[in-house]
Assembly symmetry: C2
Homo-oligomer: 374 residues x 2
Amino acid sequence: MLPGPTNVPDRVMNAMLQPMVDHRGADFHVLYSEIEANLKYVFQTENDVFILTSSGTGGVECAVTNLINEGEKVVVPVFGEFSERLAEKIRRRGGVPIEIVLPWGTAPKASEIKEIVEKEQNVKAIFLVYNETSTGVTVRELPQVGKIAEENNLLLVVDAVSILGGDKLPVDEWKIDVCITGSQKCLACPPGLAMVSVSQKAWDKIEKIGKKPIYFDLLEMRKSASRSETPFTPALPLFYALNEALKLVKEEGLERRIERHRRCAKAFYEAINAMGMTAFPREEENRSNTVIAVNVPEKGDDRKVREIMREKYKVLIAGGIGKLKGRIFRIGCMGIISQAEVVMTINALGNALKEVGCHVNIEGGLEAAMKAFQ
Amino acid sequence: MLPGPTNVPDRVMNAMLQPMVDHRGADFHVLYSEIEANLKYVFQTENDVFILTSSGTGGVECAVTNLINEGEKVVVPVFGEFSERLAEKIRRRGGVPIEIVLPWGTAPKASEIKEIVEKEQNVKAIFLVYNETSTGVTVRELPQVGKIAEENNLLLVVDAVSILGGDKLPVDEWKIDVCITGSQKCLACPPGLAMVSVSQKAWDKIEKIGKKPIYFDLLEMRKSASRSETPFTPALPLFYALNEALKLVKEEGLERRIERHRRCAKAFYEAINAMGMTAFPREEENRSNTVIAVNVPEKGDDRKVREIMREKYKVLIAGGIGKLKGRIFRIGCMGIISQAEVVMTINALGNALKEVGCHVNIEGGLEAAMKAFQ
């Protein structure tokens, strides 16, 4: 129940056992084409899509190095660990991040972004973390941000690592030029791959970019993709796994999958309330459906609680990171999540909290969760 | 029989099926520490070692970005596709590659490197591809290059992607500051991981380096490694696989493993001679023990021959790349290579060549191969 790596279905795990093939040969070309087609389905895009042998962070770095020239201004809302890391990446690339710094647990508003875009001269792009894995916050005004980007002729780059496949994200409809996700989150595939979509507007910029390293060079990727290949040796077992994971998404249907995530998240939040606890995000509408962040109750030693959950109930959840260390629990509501996992997790969390002396209404929590599924 | 990805033993494949764990938790810390210890064994080093979720090219890029500042001169012998790519990476980093351009099929000599190091002012490092996967050439004078680097107080960076674990490479004894390898070559693990060793002399430089991207930042890796973690989400199944692959190397013993590669390579070269063909590398002493490059005989349409081998004999070998496209065959002599694979490959290659109308002495080739194993 981690906010990634998340549980992987057997069909996906077993897919990794296929033999090594020539990554310049016919078998790989078929595999690559299948993945490419199904990725376009989950990204809901006609844009180009690429598969990188790297973590999601590598995917985000790919977007940064391919789209930003030395000295260029980029608007970036900072409201958690991963958006902080994004701003840092932009700085390291030589770009100038125009940061909108917000309290952790809140989401940037489209109006705030609009204001700064209009005030600042010469902004080139908006870089936005759609789902802050560190705070359990989703930026619900992303569609409006897409409009702002379009109206101001800015590139919109979205870090969707912990959300794509688990919540609404129609890349083309929302005018997202570059969208990045990771394999080990809502797609329920093992970690090790990042996926990136690239619009024509983004290509126009990429073709004019200065010196950059080769490993994440999108122009190299585009060249190889025309032969259904990757520029460098791909992590074959993970490619097989991703192919299978995407087939599962297609079999279920993207809309049903998103609805399942939404329903499980609702069950989590209602159970947490019924138990007498609170979600970390301040506004209800910005609560994530894929990462459930819960305030650690008083006396609820975070490490101890998670240790009991792990040892006694075999349930892994995550703690806070960065400045939220020890202050929140983070539960993954991703991938294969269903009623069974929600109930099991609420039960384990409730009992572990009780064991360390917290007053929590376990029965009420379980009842509220069950009710959400009816 | 590709020069990577190479065949992976079942024990290593099956290791990938272990469940996802928290990459910030106790289970992962144990896994990381085991890999780290065994990597030091195969690298024969006391230096720090790191595991990157990327291809070998990513590992080489890591070395380039962490060790070269804008405008710094680096000596780099160019004698094949991968050393060309290395020079290109150095240029993209803003470094100045002082190229020693040699005919493909030859290896740089220590004396040539010494001469250019002494002639050029202010060289900072030597970057060397130890085994050119594109030409089947190994730089046998690497130990002398290590001495030159030491005497001139230069950093020595070695791309050992397609050789480490399959031929002699005592990193510390040969004074190699940064050594890079990939998972899918002589270690017989699936592709998707790169491994990098870093000496104290290299750290002294890394700490003084300018702006660089975060994904391959060795300082971040060192920080995380002190907690037995990676800075970003690791490709867990591949980490499990690498752990198992390294255990297999240890069980066999590194020296015995290297001797097995040497013997199989000898069998290949003698069989090829006996069949009436020639190896591509010009000098016998520079022939690689891990990548066997063979000139395509006249009338021996390279694509057709490989297709027959694949379809009829289920044996995959590679063709030439870059300017050697269509001119050579490349056979991987890596990882689990043994007498059975050598004989099977010689038989398949001989028969496929015969089928396209080449005169080859198949019987003589098989006999020569068998003899080499006696």
